[in-house]
Symmetry: C2
Subunit: 489 residues, 2 copies
């Protein structure tokens, strides 16, 4: 039988340690929760299974999705409002996004930016037209499909991907060093190499602690105010992927760390929390940089286009994998030929004419010719009637030789990150199946189905981890203080 994920308080013979707030996981959500809980006057214990904090955010590019008119946006000459940010996220994070979380996130974004700056995070006021991935530090970028169809018709485009340091793609490490040090400096007691095994529950359903294991020994830690689950998602748990999202299994670029094994989700669920959209994922197919590759066309195995190639890499990947079974080619001509910087893409075929190219590909005869004939005719006039790619990326693909790069999921590394998790409210409390908070249980980050419930833009994961991590920390601290004050004498 499985080890229990929830233990009854009466089974706990003795509390080996106690604190107002106990946090499982010391990544972006855990560190911010610890900082805020300490700031609210709570004492805090953090348990982290790895040897040091940082979590998957430390391994990431460190981009944070912020908007509504941040100083960085203004310095780069972009207007933005919480309302436009809300419109974009409600469209990009659906279907059926969590309106309450999205709304809180947008309304609080300027304050969150300022808070991060106060903690020592620096944002560079330089706009980079190339999305994520230039060698030098990008600064501020479009990190979703804000500036391309269909979202550019839904909300006024603004770049909201804020790189958090001058370190380029190492920003995640710098960010997490800053946040974990701030948490420790604030007085959070961090226990590394300590794994959270189970939640402890009172007979009335309140969560009152955790059972942890360190160096082979189990111990019980009492949480007077609450337990916050911030242990990441489940991208590294292949059984859970097979059960909830088997199409992710062939994707080889796992965006996460070994600890993203779903443990926090399962503990939260065992305590009565509900899981949301366990099928959802960020699925990333970075066909650029270089940006010129947006002038190519992505085709499916029927030789049809299926998306505007200037969409965000997370939208390209989602459409390619979920709607086209991960069987797609990028067709380019000699004028734009390049290999995508992040993909070891094979050249599947080369031809002096479209017919020659097509003959060498596993495509229905005539299909690519029909597709390119239609595309080129309109591209010459700067139009893309099918998918409304922007004029700057439209030019007939006509300069021989033509080539097709194989971007199929079994050939190139699609990046994947799970988005499914526990449902929380705007205070960071874990909700039960009736939508009621479970007393004493909080969560944030990829342990939850957060702002990015049903869709993704880069920076949303660290964005909602830090935003709702802070809220969970404050909520758990406030509960501890209320309990303390309610105690007689």
């Amino acid at each position: 039988m499985s080890q229990p994920l929830v233990r009854n308080a009466r089974e706990i013979a003795r509390w080996d340690a106690q604190a107002d707030v106990v946090i499982a996981g010391f990544g972006a959500a855990g560190a911010t929760a610890a900082i805020e809980a300490r700031a609210a006057g709570a004492d805090v214990i953090v348990v982290e299974r790895a040897g040091a904090g940082g979590g998957s955010a430390a391994n990431s590019g460190g981009v944070i999705y912020l908007g509504g008119g941040t100083p960085t946006q203004k310095a780069c000459g972009f207007e933005d409002t919480p309302e436009e940010m809300f419109k974009y996220l409600m469209a990009a994070c659906g279907p059926s996004p969590d309106e309450g979380l999205v709304s809180a996130y947008c309304d609080g974004s300027l304050e969150h930016y300022a808070w991060l700056v106060d903690r020592g995070i620096r944002f560079r006021p330089r706009f980079a037209a190339a999305e994520l991935g230039a060698d030098e530090c990008p600064g501020l970028v479009y990190s979703g499909t804000e500036n391309a169809w269909p979202f550019n018709e839904i909300a006024r485009p603004a770049p909201r991907g804020h790189y958090s340091a001058d370190q380029g793609l190492a920003s995640g490490g710098v960010l997490m060093q800053t946040l974990t040090q701030a948490a420790m400096k604030a007085g959070a007691a961090v226990h590394a190499n300590t794994r959270c095994l189970a939640l402890v529950v009172e007979s009335d359903g309140r969560i009152c602690g955790v059972v942890v294991r360190a160096a082979g020994e189990q111990s019980a830690v009492r949480a007077r105010g609450g337990v916050i689950l911030t242990t990441g998602g489940f991208i590294s748990n292949r059984e859970m992927l097979a059960r909830h999202a088997p199409w992710l299994l062939p994707c080889t670029n796992v965006v996460g760390i070994e600890g993203d094994d779903g443990g926090g989700l399962m503990m939260g669920q065992a305590a009565g929390g509900v899981l949301c959209r366990m099928d959802a994922a960020d699925i990333s197919l970075p066909i650029y940089p270089p940006l010129q590759l947006r002038k190519g066309i992505l085709i499916n195995r029927h030789g049809q286009r299926f998306i505007n190639e200037d969409a965000y890499m997370g939208r390209l990947g989602e459409f390619a994998l979920l709607h086209q079974q991960g069987r797609v080619f990028l067709v380019v001509d000699d004028a734009i030929f390049a290999r995508p910087e992040y993909l070891e893409a094979d050249i599947a075929a080369v031809g002096e004419t479209i017919a020659e190219l097509e003959a060498d590909l596993p495509l229905p005869s005539g299909a690519l010719q029909a597709t390119l004939s239609f595309y080129n005719e309109h591209a010459a006039k700067g139009r893309d009637p099918l998918f409304r790619k922007k004029a700057e990326y439209l030019a007939p693909l006509a300069q021989p030789p033509l080539a097709a790069l194989d971007l199929s999921v079994d050939v190139v590394p699609y990046g994947v990150l799970t988005l499914g998790g526990l449902q929380i409210d705007t205070a960071g409390a874990v909700l039960d199946r009736d939508g009621d908070p479970i007393p004493g249980l909080y969560a944030a980050g990829r342990t939850t189905s957060g702002v990015c419930k049903g869709g993704y833009s880069s920076g949303l994961s660290i964005g909602d981890s830090t935003f709702f991590g802070r809220r969970a920390g404050r909520s758990a601290a406030a509960r501890a203080i209320r309990e303390r004050e309610a105690r007689p004498g």
Copy 2:
């Protein structure tokens, strides 16, 4: 706080009733479980929340997916083997189908056919080329995409949809009358208007009973061998749909009954069972009968075809809703004009020429003209290079006037049935997160993620409900008898 779905045995002051096997739900899975448990020598209590048994199967067309060379298949002149059936189902029920369940289902199909006949179910040896839905009783039909691309290249096509009586589309009612009466005649004690509220668990994790409510009064029923959850899926629970599969919410043809509220899934999960593929559903868009409509073309909002129109209605619906956001048209010419028998489809536009038709539709200019020009050119030669529709459904769409029927999800009723549920083994035992059976807990039918884990063909739901319902009944009975014999004299 939510009412508990699992209760500790020590909280049960008194057992109001007891039996070897307790079954929650008296539909296709529950009735067959009861019959087999009785046949194995167990005494059986069935609790059913509705006023009478039948479940959603009683409201259905009653088709059962059977194969491997059944007498009905043979009488109609079709060859089939368990191996070909297995090849089809492994392709059609994925990605990542449950190989163990599919294999058991195919290997046992002939025996299951004979068992159903022995219980009084009659199958009519008449092959009907039109799939599901002719007015007269169809008999034997292709009830999936066995005979169309791509599955006709994966497995030798054979029709496996067996209508279970001479009653045409009322077959489900006749089927369930037969099965529920057989269960009662066999001695199962059926308690109608009795709702299962919670499972009762021993301190060592064994499931030993249920708490039920009838006429406002709660009582506890002890299960010596096991509890079998057969309470249906969750298509009628809109909160669960919003959480797991929000794209189903706009679909107005709910294939199920009010009782399909997910209660059994939630109880099983609360007892440690794992849920699988909660996003999965049968999504049905019946563009035919009449069959001539297969000669039309389905197009998306970009004016492109996206599927062979002779595919199974469940595949048409899945592709239309999941890959095309439920925004599709059926384009026909005057030679084949008709309205789909099951859809109140609006005529969105009519035109003497393709250009005229296109101009009246919300489509990119020129797109439909390009699509039809390519389609007609090849259809005239009996070929469909893109999607390999069969030659018998290929003819240029050229006889004016042309028309487009709006088959968008907000216009016509897509049929939907949830497929996600508890993971079971081939004995019908509910599995925990480590893949181990939970002692004393069984399930079958849409409470489980069964044979149709990730894809559907008509008849699979009643098929796997009855097949694994039987197995769960035998397993729970055997456990009761083992426990009885182990008890000291």
